[in-house]
Amino acid sequence: MTDELKKEIEGARRSFLHDLEHVQSPEQLAALRERFLSRRKGQVSLFLARLRECPPAEKPVAGQEINRFKEFVEEALAGAEAARISASAPWSDPSLPASELPVGRLHLIADIQRRIEDIFQQLGYEIATGPEVERDEYNFTLLNFPEHHPARDEQDTFFLEGHDDLLLRTHTSPMQVRYMLAHPPPLKIVSPGKAFRKDDPDATHSPCFHQVEGLLVDRGIHFSHLKGTLEAFCRSFYGPDVVLRFRPGYFPFTEPSAEVDISCFLCAGKNSDCRVCKGTGWLEILGSGMVHPQVLRNCRIDPEEYSGFAFGMGIERVAMVKYGVPDLRLLYDNDLRLLGQFG
């Protein structure tokens, strides 16, 4: 049965090609289309009608043969029609490639920073920025880093010639001090920007880096509010299923303090060879805590009445964790082969 059908289809194909070659006018082309593709009595339909007589085992093969023939006829007719039309118009080929017009991009760090800012703006935070050359007082003293305290060693600081009271800010937290001194609570801000520590550049260190810090102060704010807020942010930024893990930490300006990990957004801890979390299932991404009462007092806010939380994250770290940039130095090489991949 199938062999017989095959032979007939082959015959029809030869007949179609012969007739197509001798088509002289659009009318003849239309008649040819009618003869082969007419739904009711076209050649293809006749073949399909015969399919019913086929034994079930042969049906798929026979069906395929008929379909292949139908596609062949359709393509050949379409090509002949297009050739007729274009023969009468100036030559053009709309399938020629598009021109490659230049496109520029934001730097990955700027792009990430903007996305983080956008999420917090939607949560009602104000964006507050401050100077990169900062007063020692705002960078350390008022943030409860006593003058001769070893905690200052952890933030190796650049100082300025001829200005003993100034430095390059080691974090964007001084903006919190500036803001609290200028505005009474309730307040809700994020402060993004550059920060500087005297580290030689290597795969995970840079003397210049970017942070986004947040601060919320109001009556009745507690530690769980910090967790709820960071959960909202992390689920928006990293994915709706990430889970947060708080671990005790230390920052002079928060008490209690917490280091915050998120569950690995790639493997959720299920892959021991995961390239993102290295199999630990967790990614360290944030430092946070309740604003230390001394910091509130330093900023003329009464800790008996108000409490608040603060958090901070490094944008370069996000670039490495979320976008797989393997070496921090690449972010400052400004090689277009990297810049073109993001933003």
């Binding site: 550059k194 708080f246 002079p252």
Partner: protein, 680 residues
Amino acid sequence: MKINVEYLKRFVACDLEDKALKELLAGIGLETAETLASDGETVLDIETTPNRPDWLSHYGIAREIAAKDHRLRFTPMDVSGASLDAPSTGFAIHVEDAADCRRYSGCIVRGLTVRESPPDVQKLLVSLGFRPINDIVDASNLVMMTCGQPLHIFDLDRLQGGEVRVRRARRGESLRLLDERDVALDERHLLIADARRPLALAGIMGGLDSGIGPGTRHIFIESACFDPVVIRLGAHALGLKTDASYRFERGMDAEATLPALKMALLFLARSQGRRLAPAFFQDAYPRPQERPVIHLDKDFPARLTGMELPAAASAAILGRLGFALRDEGGHWAVTPPSHRVDAQCREDLVEEIARIHGYEHLPGEMPLAANPVLRVDGGRVAVQRLQCQLADAGFNEVINYVFQSPEENLMADPQGEPLTLKNPLGRDFSVMKNSLLPGLLKNTAANANQGIERVALFEIGNVFGQEGKRVLESRRLAISACGLQQKKDWRLAAQAFDFAWFKSQLALLGRRLRLELAFRQGRHPAFSPSCCFAVEVDRRGCGWAGEVAAELRRFAKLDADAPVFAAEFDLAALIAAAPESRFLPWNRFPAARRDFTFLVAKSVRFEALRAAIERLRPEALESYELTDVFQGQAVPADKVSLSMGFTYRAQERTLTGDEVNAAHRGFIERLAAELGLIQR
């Protein structure tokens, strides 16, 4: 902080496997940086924080484990076998200022023979990163690693005058340290001295001369508590950081000196093989360590954390951590143990409670707090628009360091006073940038030298300078373009960047903020004199644009011949000038256009023509544009042919053709006369 797990378990009988132990520790804030194996024993290198000097010993870690697991007890070494019952005569300890040294306990032991420590002690010390030296030095190290108290042991025979004095150094004094370095001393340094000369830098490092040697027979053991700031400043001044100074500058427990002395006596008794009775003992402790009494409302832990924390649970945790609680009704009066120098306020107590209770019990809750006024930074919106506009036009954003070399600062501004770093990473990063252009040029060169044909970049960043004592910091936008604006394909010809294109992009940026940028010929060291413009808005300077000067190209090591066009704007000036939009009714009367094609001498720049048009423009002239520039056979060599279109319109009526013709003719005649134009 290196912790030998087997040794640790002598002080807290915990049966956890290494992995579970590490998890327990991480849960209370003690992260293991590295797990090491030493001669079959596990050693954990634990990260500690500067507020917890009490963690810097096996005791400290054992206490934390016992606090976390209520089934366990912290069991310090039994030192009752050592006695400090000895005369306080025949020798003397003088503390000149109790503010420098809170406590100084010392004893003399006679008749020792210096020998090796027992093998297990040596093995333990090696596992903790120490090199065993002799039983006396080893004993002091082992005491420190066990209970945290740094000791110093002197060779008694090297001490002159039968006394030690804790005093500030005098200018001109010097000391040869154990590491054989000679240091010059002054009033900043706290010393241990004898009657004649300095012996040791208190709390930092001993002197070579009074150290323990193979022939040492009699020793003086010091167990003291020095002021943290004094030790920190002294160590910093000399660039020293030792195990002792690291601990003292974080704050040591003044109550720990005597148990530490006893522990040392016991360690030495073991290595010497006999009971040791001190020949002298004195404890200079003028003012006992003051401990704060912290008022803690019983519901405060739950209030500050949002965790479910019944009062009994809080009390139990504080108790296990060694805090003494006095119940005073609604609150407790809490006294921290002497080793918890960090615990100062009620929030510190809450952290202890939450930490031991477990942060995993912390629920997440969204705060309802809201800013009463949500201030939106208009400048930020403007900057975002500029960023997007530039990216859409094919410019890529770069971010560079804020510091650069002094030479780079000179490229952009040879006169300005640079802001210099006191402690830069190197000369190439020693001054704060006064311009973003050198960085942008370096990025351009790095990319172009790789063979990238189109290098169009921008950067937004701060620049710095100073005027007298005042530091200047302002935000800039710098833009550059080098190479091909458009590469060749089947429909477009290759097109190199030229200044006209670049200027058009700048004008477009201005229009994005509804600003009309004016380009006034000027001089700037970063730009070539033949193509250098001060950019102005409303006659006020807001930046510079032009072709980058050859010196700057050479400095950036740009190989290609292609010119680099660049601009740098003061962002604050642009943003301040950007107007608020406001509805203006448009002119409903028809406009009339007249064209004018003319020859002009090449020496006359378009800028001069524009100035003349502005000066001579008739009232009805609404706008004008340059429509063609032509140089060809029909045009004399010293001239160019320009075509311009002029649009005329009145505010309140339709102008007649005659009116337009009259206005146009008069205007053109005056313009032609002024600039020597020849109508074609």
